[in-house]
Symmetry: C2
Subunit: 313 residues, 2 copies
């Protein structure tokens, strides 16, 4: 999380969401590939290349659901995508929202912090209780850090705190008799874990345990940013989901965070007259789609940095 925080300061707070559903690729391009998974992987590669060369983002978030939906070939494309993100010098967040108990949680941690699906940071669902976080946080000690070999050595988790969907009122927002909301019970535990880490590792400037906080409601954004000042946020809901840059900027205050945009980047070609024209003619290429996505990433970065500047003014 510390390296992600540093990269966000350098490249800006954008997180490029590789929720690459094959349906986001126009049919005229998709059908040039022998399988949807190959097309998805190639599209991801084009996007990662452009993000790397433009320095438009600090990380990519790969949403595993879209790869699972393509079966075994999808899982291969998933593993390969993680590899490409890490090779590009970007932090790789695997949006897997796993959560389970004891041995099973340990198996999930092993699955996503080592081996074919090894990533830097994962998202975690805390519903079954705080004992379910331990198998993940046990991978997060910074003992393997060195200045030369920082990338890939750092593991972290983003725990679901306040998500960006309407249904978040059903459980997360429910009021407890203690006066807290359910999500605050989760937040308090994240602070406890973070304090334990900072007590143990004096050089650590950012807790490896972050929180997912959607940027869909301004008042709540300020409350949560003030409540959890030292926790780094993964911020979904920007762009296609309706979240405004201004709300994201509020959440980027204090310990900061990274703001995800998925469809706004993956489907950017739909707003490009050139791409639409080429699609009609049958001359559209993956390279064209990559260009549109690359530009959309740069625009998102500028939009976010502009909002941050405005908030500080």
């Amino acid at each position: 999380m510390q390296i992600l925080q540093e990269l966000a300061a350098k490249n800006g707070p954008l997180c490029v969401g590789l929720d690459t559903d094959p349906s986001y690729i126009p049919l005229s391009v998709l059908q040039k590939y022998s399988s949807p998974a190959e097309a998805v992987l190639d599209y991801n590669k084009e996007i990662i290349d452009r993000v790397k060369s433009a320095g438009s983002a600090c990380c990519c978030k790969v949403q595993i659901a879209y790869y699972e939906a393509m079966g075994l070939s999808g899982m291969k494309a998933y593993a390969e995508t993680l590899r490409l993100v890490k090779e590009a010098g970007l932090i790789c967040i695997s949006d897997i929202k796993r959560g389970d108990i004891a041995n099973t949680a340990a198996a999930y941690a092993k699955a996503h912090f080592t081996g074919d699906f090894e990533t830097d940071i994962i998202t975690v669902n805390p519903y079954m209780g705080f004992d379910t976080l331990k198998p993940f946080t046990s991978y997060c000690s910074p003992k393997n850090f060195s200045e030369e070999n920082k990338l890939g050595a750092e593991k972290g988790i983003f725990v679901l705190l306040r998500t960006s969907n309407p249904g978040m009122v059903d459980i997360e927002q429910q009021q407890l008799v203690s006066g807290k909301r359910v999500l605050d019970a989760v937040g308090a535990e994240l602070e406890n874990i973070s304090k334990e880490f900072s007590a143990q590792y004096k050089d650590m400037t950012c807790s490896p345990v972050g929180a997912v906080v959607g940027c869909t409601e301004e008042s709540d954004a300020r409350i949560l940013r003030d409540a959890y000042q030292d926790i780094f946020f993964l911020i979904p809901g920007y762009g296609a989901q309706g979240g405004k840059a201004r709300i994201a900027a509020t959440l980027l205050d204090k310990a900061g965070g990274t703001v995800n945009s998925s469809r706004g980047i993956l489907c950017a070609w739909k707003n490009s007259p050139t791409c639409l024209e080429k699609d009609k003619e049958g001359s559209l290429t993956m390279d064209d789609l990559g260009d549109s996505a690359g530009c959309a990433a740069l625009e998102a970065k500028d939009d976010l940095l502009g909002a941050v500047k405005e908030l500080k003014a």
Copy 2:
């Protein structure tokens, strides 16, 4: 869920948990295989064969975490295991505990109700809200049923209600200002969904939306069984996790349920003097392990049916 309920009445309530971590297979057997995933798949095959021929269980629950932990070869063994369970005429439950929003939830539903990872029933985490259940329940309408082609046509979900780990007090058991516990807010929603299904499909005898209820506390088991009489339960926590058959029997009342045993079956060879002796000699085979597991499954079935009988007496 309806077919599972019927199979449970016929074969008894046991669910065989294929949480097959390679470490559960003795090294002397494991090293005969070219990869852990191959050994795991072969062990699963031995167990499924015995469960099928003995009629000792109504379903198998495959815990995906252990397969993810083996990477791409693990996912292949996972897909193959699901196929074997279905081929054996048993209901296949995929313990995946997924939960996500909108398009992403739809991708998970597609991933596990179609294609390489197609299963009959999945477990679902409701934390992000009840809108996250819809993409899954939309696969659960019984329109594809026919007497000739029942198996494989039925889809269902088990939603986490009361899990069997100590941390379940952190969120699930928290008291809301409404007077309910968080888990009861989930339960109430499950009842709503079930009522919608039964209003729409008059012939349906069991809601396709079940609940996960651990059998670790007797008082709570009775409360939950009485509160959700028409909901079929998936019951973890029996055996290795310390849950007693008597508590499981309480949960098997009313609409009934299926009681999972994983390690109690997978590690049964550790209690077999013959297996231990053969392991020492280096003559232990996968067939031997399968025999131990098969016997343990029969014993678990008898233990559960005995407890049910005693409760009714």
